[in-house]
Amino acid sequence: MSIWEYANPKKFIATTTPLIPWVFGATAVCLVVGLVWGFFLTPEADRFGSTVKIIYVHVPSAMMAINAWAMMLVASLVWLIRRHHVSALAAKAAAPIGLTMTLIALWTGAVWGQPMWGTWWAWDPRLTAFLILGLFYLGYIALWEAIPDPDQAADLTSVLCLVGSVFAVLSRYAVNFWNQGLHQGATLSMDAEENISDVYWFPLLFCIAGFVLLFLGLVLMRTGTEIRLRRLRALERQAQRITA
């Protein structure tokens, strides 16, 4: 018994397909509990009013946007080192989800920023870093789409993912530096975990768990789809060979 036996596509599908409804069920429970508790059962914050509640979508999606890239990095490494196709397909499957999470985080941030900072967008280090992360996702997805041969595409996107990770981290610190150079002090401090009171914190935990489960379920489902698509292509090729 080792984890690598799930690298067998057949075994992967057989194991994950029955799991998917359970994962989505747990997602629904966590999100309903977290969001209802967060939106309706928490008090309004002193200075922020009800806008504080955007945190229940904003923070989990932002976390998952970064975690999705980290997962892609691990999956790319596994593909490059051990050549498991499921791993490459999982990385491919995770990218659009990560991009969506990035967009959700940026959008909810803008919606919050408009009443609170008086602007939809500020060149704050965190915002800028997320925008750049979104660009990295775009490039990664575009490279997958552009290369017809699946193995070659998996190889090249994995290399891009490795290099991109280094540069994404580098950009994060560069942007931090750049903004401090422009303005005095940051416009917001997001170390909410330290300041936030338990009233807001517990529903947030549910929301985070919900987003993690949502990501997990979507990745499993999309990976299964990719595997089946590839199997379909192989079957089509076989059929062509027989008829030819």
Binding site: I132, A146, Y173, F177
Partner: protein, 218 residues
């Protein structure tokens, strides 16, 4: 190695296009900026270093898709790959040739173009210094991007989408150092970071580019 370098340089200079084109592009972008933002001297001198950095970056990008594509089309790349030279070294030499024909002329041309943007006196030396430090990184990162997209039919647009986000840290530190230097602030940290990015890219990215070339030639 030398033969490859000399060959690339000859091709770049004689085959037309690459060499003069990026310089001309640099000139035109710089000339267009005052039309867009207005001719006020103080605005131009304030945004000048940043504009020249962005223009240099775009001009670098322009000649990147020729890096491997032409050699790939006529089969020269496969021949080079069968030579005893490892592909990592090929990537490094290609990047060096690209820098000699693009980065270096851009760095040298930046000072005269700075006159057009009304740069102040201390800004010139900072601009040239940061460009000299930063353009090698741009060439190496771009070579990596070109190696990724070499087999693709219409790789040019994809290449810019892949490479531009990778250029962000270089641009930030380069332009920041030039701006701080021009305004007489301490520019040591961004200069060191810029040099660090260049050194790190030079050391590591040829390996990534070599791996990408190997995958594409498979």
């Amino acid at each position: 190695m030398k033969a490859l370098l000399v060959r690339d340089l000859r091709l770049a200079i004689r085959a037309g296009g690459g060499f003069g084109l990026s310089l001309a592009f640099f000139l035109i972008v710089t000339v267009l900026v005052p039309f867009a933002v207005g001719p006020e001297a103080d605005i131009l001198s304030r945004i000048g270093p940043g504009i020249l950095w962005v223009a240099a970056l775009l001009a670098t990008l322009l000649s990147l898709d020729r890096q491997f594509a032409l050699d790939h089309e006529d089969g020269a790349l496969s021949l080079i790959a069968t030579s005893p030279l490892p592909l990592e070294a090929v990537a490094l030499i290609k990047a060096f040739a690209h820098w000699l024909t693009t980065g270096l002329p851009l760095t040298l041309a930046a000072a005269p173009l700075g006159v057009l943007l009304n740069l102040e006196r201390p800004a010139f030396s900072w601009l040239v210094l940061t460009l000299a430090l930063g353009t090698p990184a741009l060439s190496v990162i771009g070579t990596f991007g070109a190696a990724l997209t070499v087999g693709l039919r219409r790789g040019g647009l994809l290449l810019s989408l892949l490479v531009l986000p990778l250029y962000v840290p270089t641009l930030i530190f380069g332009a920041e150092a030039a701006r701080r230097g021009a305004e007489g602030l301490a520019a040591g940290t961004p200069i060191l970071m810029l040099a660090g990015i260049t050194a790190g890219s030079l050391a590591l990215l040829p390996f990534a580019a070599g791996a990408a070339l190997r995958i594409n030639l498979r």
